[in-house]
């Protein structure tokens, strides 16, 4: 993620204060996020649904 994109996303998220006071933290947070998203494999089955938080009643 380049610097301009990071700044744009930070402003869109309302992080102007953090951008002004902790610019290095913003870059590290953005790098962590993009790194994790990049390491994730796409689901192999197009019909795979999101995991429900809990199916109450019978456990998982």
């Amino acid at each position: 993620m380049d610097k301009a994109t990071i700044e744009l996303l930070a402003r869109r998220a309302g992080l102007e204060k953090a951008l002004a006071d902790f610019p290095e933290d913003i870059v590290i947070a953005a790098t962590q996020a993009s790194g994790a998203a990049a390491k994730m494999k796409a689901p192999t089955d197009p019909r795979a649904e999101p995991w429900p938080p809990m199916r109450a009643g019978d456990g998982l």
């Binding site: 902790f22 947070a29 994730m40 456990g59």
Partner: protein, 464 residues
């Protein structure tokens, strides 16, 4: 008799009920020890000593009058400072919530009190149960009783360090990416992340709704089973609560492992994140011991650790951003640097990332379920390294992610971490056992067999 501070929860409860010791005598001994050791260990954010002594006196009177309250009557407990305790602050170890006084007990705290346990106070944590040991918060970070120059793991750092140091026999912790099992591993105690939904999260400050688990931290497997039996059970007001019946968690203790099929996930510590020779040797020793006790140990394959970690990170960051976004926008300077960096990550993830992570999660659950068609229990690494020094932030950053705990937050399966031995430097090494959903009794059965063979519950840190 054993020194009072090394009495386990079950032993203490039995001795109190039999009037061999007084709960006041026990509480006073622990408060004296806290007075000596807490300045070195930084376990307590808020010690509620007077109230704890008053509760101990009340317990003594009830027992004398023949009115036992429950299986933990008179037994002290420490509470991680993200759990509400009525009348005390829930700060989450953060300036953000420094004046946040809880109106009511968290469900798990209330259940402990109903069973007769006595709350001693609120314990150090990583800020908002995320990141690592920080020196820029209103309270200092907890330290490891095996060597106070080293970190105690986290985020339930005060819970593990205090249990290991003999300041209280049991504590509550929470686990979103390993936060019960990490400090249990670093401090050489028993930490259980139960099945998702088994213990109510109500009254506990959330980090990530679909990954958060509440669990017991103790010095022995028996105490862990006892504590789980008290705190587990359906809570209709927790939307994540399972309607599973509270199991007989101690049923398998002492039954041994003969005939059990144990799947050894070697790839985690051999391929994905190669562990050091001492940690590897300790894991092999656990496997050989269980085999000698009659278990059938075989290799088992699971997806790579970094895939689990990525899914965990995307889900946790997204859900935590939903909680912390408003404060991070308005008060970013009131967070410590580590938590600020971790919690802002969610601002850079999209809805698509979150949905894909939850979909991939479902496939990863299926892969672990598949493994449980072949075996009854998984054996794998917990931490790849013993705890490093606290004054080496680069080493903390390098070693903290070197663990195999996040897979079971992603899948929800119950997982228990405990001591596997001691390193040449005198620090705990660890092992992790994992079972099918709601099969905590099997987990305790295997963990107890290892504990009995190795005597891990009798190994205490050389402090005070």
């Amino acid at each position: 008799m054993t020194d009072l501070h090394w009495l386990g929860a079950a032993e203490a409860a039995r001795a109190i009920a039999a009037r061999e010791i007084s709960p006041v005598e026990l509480m006073q001994a622990l408060l004296d020890r806290i007075g000596r050791l807490d300045p070195k260990l930084n376990i307590f954010i808020r010690l509620d000593g007077e109230a704890a002594l008053a509760a101990a006196r009340a317990a003594e009177a009830e027992i004398r009058a023949g009115r036992p309250r429950g299986p933990l009557h008179g037994v002290p407990v420490g509470i991680k400072d993200i759990f509400d305790v009525a009348g005390l602050p829930t700060t989450c170890h953060s300036k953000i919530l420094i004046d946040n006084i809880a109106a009511a007990d968290a469900v798990s705290v209330a259940r402990l009190r109903q069973a007769g346990a006595i709350v001693m106070g609120k314990l150090s944590t990583h800020e908002f149960a995320v990141s690592g040991p920080s020196f820029d918060l209103p309270w200092p970070p907890a330290r490891n009783p095996w060597n106070t120059d080293h970190h105690p793991g986290g985020s339930s750092s005060g819970s593990a360090s205090g249990v290991a140091a003999g300041l209280f026999p049991m504590a509550l912790g929470s686990d979103t990416g390993g936060s019960i099992r990490t400090p249990a591993s670093a401090c050489g105690i028993v930490g259980l992340k139960p099945t998702y939904g088994l213990v109510s999260r109500r009254g506990v400050f959330p980090l990530s709704f679909t990954l958060d688990h509440i669990g017991p931290m103790t010095r022995s497997v028996t105490d862990n089973a006892l504590m789980l039996a008290v705190i587990a059970g359906h809570d209709p007001l927790d939307p994540g609560s399972a309607a599973a019946a509270n199991g007989h968690y101690a049923a398998g203790l002492g039954r041994g492992v003969r005939g059990l099929r144990v799947g050894f996930v070697r790839r985690f510590h051999e391929i994905d994140m190669p562990a050091g020779p001492e940690a590897t040797a300790a894991l092999e020793h656990v496997a050989r011991t269980l085999q000698a006790e009659g278990a059938e140990v075989r290799n088992i394959a699971l997806p790579p650790l970094d895939e689990f970690a990525a899914v965990n990170r995307v889900i946790m960051s997204s859900e935590a951003w939903g909680i912390h976004g408003p404060w991070l926008r308005e008060r970013p300077g009131d967070y410590g640097q580590l938590a600020r960096r971790r919690l802002m990550a969610g601002a850079f993830l999209g809805a698509g990332d979150y949905v894909q992570a939850q979909r991939r999660r479902r496939e990863m659950i299926a892969s672990v379920e598949e493994a449980f068609r072949e075996v009854d229990v998984l054996l794998c690494a917990s931490s790849m390294d013993p705890a490093c020094r606290m004054d080496k932030p680069a080493e903390i950053e390098r070693t903290f992610p070197r663990q195999a705990r996040t897979p079971f937050n992603v899948t929800g399966h119950p997982a228990l971490a405990m001591m596997a031995g001691l390193s040449s430097g005198g620090l705990p090494l660890s092992v992790q056992f994992v079972a099918r959903n709601f099969a905590e009794a099997t987990l305790f059965q295997v963990a107890r067999a290892w504990e009995q063979a190795a005597g891990t519950n009798r190994k205490h840190p050389p402090i005070g």
